[in-house]
Amino acid sequence: MGVLRRMWLTVASEVSWRLPGRPQRLLAAFALAERGSMLDMLAAVEATDRRELRKKYFLHALDEGRHALVFAERVRALGQLGRAEAAIEDSGKLVEAGIVGGRTLFERLGEPEFLTFVYVAEADAVEQFRVYLDRGLPDTRTQDELRGILKEETFHVSYSRAEVDRYRKEGLPVDWWATRLRLRRLWEGWLRFSRDFGAVMSAFWLGVLYLLVMAPFRLLARLEPGGWQTPAGRPGGDPLVAARMEG
């Protein structure tokens, strides 16, 4: 493990686990990520042409589904859930399933790069969990669960590494893919930060707009009354022309 990455994980874990309410949110995020991984792996079961890998993907998916339940259970056990509760109860919050533009992670990456992704993600997760355990975080019961999960993650690392090694021998640029995946994560982190920053800025300026521009119109605007109303008139003429209109 890189020294820098370990330092980062150490600092981040101390902050993440010790702030009030953060452990629940972190565990809820893990639950969602594991559930998303389960969906990615099930999509791979469906899409792969390498039939010998199907069972491994399937078992991997079942592990991830179980991990999601374990993390969700720990969130509930720790109590004081708030937003974390909503995240684990509401599958609509699930944004980690890797579907972009209607294509699953497997479809977008192709099998060799997908397996490289699996290897990198699983190896990183193992490192992350080990740092938590080394530092005695977050609590005894969750640590016990993390140890169990680590064993299964080790299986995921080993089978995906074997496949990555095989692709490397075939001359495929797996090391470049691994580097690119890590760079992409950094880039996505930057994009997340930019998006959040942009949201704050746009909220500010839209708030200013709201106060300055919208306020005068308040005098004219009224909410609709209850009860039946006469429907607004529909445009006449060619129905196809009207159907093309967005308003």
Binding site: M38, L39, L42, V45, E46, R51, E52, R54, K55, F58, A61, L62, G65, R66, R76, L81, E85, A86, E89, D90, S91, G92, L94, A97, I99, G101, G102, A199, S202, A203, L206, G207, Y210, L211, M214, A215, F217, R218, A221, R222, L223, E224, P225, G226, G227, W228, Q229, T230, P231, A232, R234, P239, L240, A243, R244, M245, E246, G247
Partner: protein, 583 residues
Amino acid sequence: MPTYILGISALYHDSAAVLLRDGEVVAAVQEERFSRLKHDPALPVRAARWCLARAGITIADVAWLVFYEKPLRKFDRILSTSVATFPKSWAAFPRHMRAWLGDKLWLRGNLCEAFGVRPDRVLFCEHHLSHAASAFFPSPHRDAAILCVDGVGEWATTSLWRGRDTAIEPVAEVRFPHSLGLYYSAITAHLGFAVNEGEFKVMGMAAYGQPRFRAEMDRLLKLDDGGFSLDLDYFAWHWHPSQAASPKLEQLLGPPRYPGTPFTPRATPEGAGEAEIAASQRYADLAATAQQQIEEAMLHLARHAKAKVGTEALCVAGGVALNSVANHRVAAEGPFANLWIQPAAGDAGGALGAALWAWHSVLGNPRGPALERADLGRDTPLDRTRELLDDLGARYEDVGDDAPERAGDDLAAGKVIGWMDGRCEWGPRALGHRSILADPRRPETRDAVNVRVKYREPFRPFAPSVVAEHADEYFDIPAASREPARFMLSTGPVRESARATLGATTHVDGTARVQVVDAGTSPRYHRVISRFGAETGVPVVLNTSFNLKGEPVVSSPVDAMASFVRSGLDLLYIDNFRVERPR
């Protein structure tokens, strides 16, 4: 060259795609069945891709893509409401504007990019007109009143139409923020359930309570002059970015129920203390009151529809049309001889309505036959399933066309089975294509399926499926409920004589959301139930959707296998394959 029309509903919840070929439904499926994200609101790219593949065409062959809303009218409502609720809407305004200016306002371009169609091929149908078309055009009726009741579309939250052959004319509408759907959702949130997901749970919970909060809750919802209005001081959906209720609602109804709190009313007080029982009973009574209000409101609206339109048939659509208890009351006590509800009555159904509206009302084509079946979704060729089972090392047997009879025997032997057969259902109900089936006679089966298989709340009831020939022996089904019962959209009384027999599917109030299974439209499922009936003397099975808590109904054999292994199901049938649990 046939004319293909692709209907799309998306960007709120339950997105879906529907493909018509010369007005006939080739395929209809929700995006969640592919993405595995329950109520997935994303543009249904995968669903649409599957629909095209099913028809053996590409997007270039599609004449029109029809979206189920008019986005600019919706934007107008959001903007106008933000101004009208100034300054309370200070937090909602930036959030709405970010979403709209950043994405939703450019819908035509987004649709063209996502689906690969030309801009001039994209049409837009009003939200409630999509609902109305989804209810009327697939119905067997040529002249009918159409009642649409949901949360909100552009402006309308409730609308009344008259459908005559290929034309649908507006009669009247109730506008945002007065909304029955949003009212029920606010109560759903107060009772600790997720909005757009937990409304069915409120319906189930209501049976444990008494409507003793009418005095309080009648201040919230008033029926008048054939319509209704809300006291908006108690609600916040028109000005708050995420909350449905204002603090006044909590003052009126007491503290909301915390999500996940055990529900132990007096009818099922297992291991609970008096305070817990009293709290649960209070929530049950709130649910019962809200449910009774919705039922009375639907009856009130139906009577107004009859007075205004005067037809013999009523078609109902919108999310509130999935309230099966209210549907039963409209059928049993309402003024219409016939009631018709399309299986995907909620927002997903808007895709069907939008496409049919384009075909009939815009392009002027004549009506076709009525929609009689709901198995319009995804299926998998047998050889692909066999290959998967081999690859996973599953313990399975190819039982060929005897699968229904083998399944009936297994049910009679007390097994709880996953039953995946043919194409998946259109809409939220499992109707014998993606179902978990069990013996309906044993009350303990209900607990076993709830706790061991589906991991869901123990108070929720299970539905029975009965063969049409014997339906009246077990259930009191009014004539007007016959059609809704085909798609499991009506909840009515179980006959007194059958309640003890159907212990696992009779709810605590003596009702059941029955599905009447017809041999003509669901032949294999009919055979399963018939075989079970031949073995046990009871031609009824317990039928619940084949999914685990928080997940959409299974769609592919991979989904089915994953749910099978992770649940306590005894057996799994995938078409002709009988799969046993792994050792």
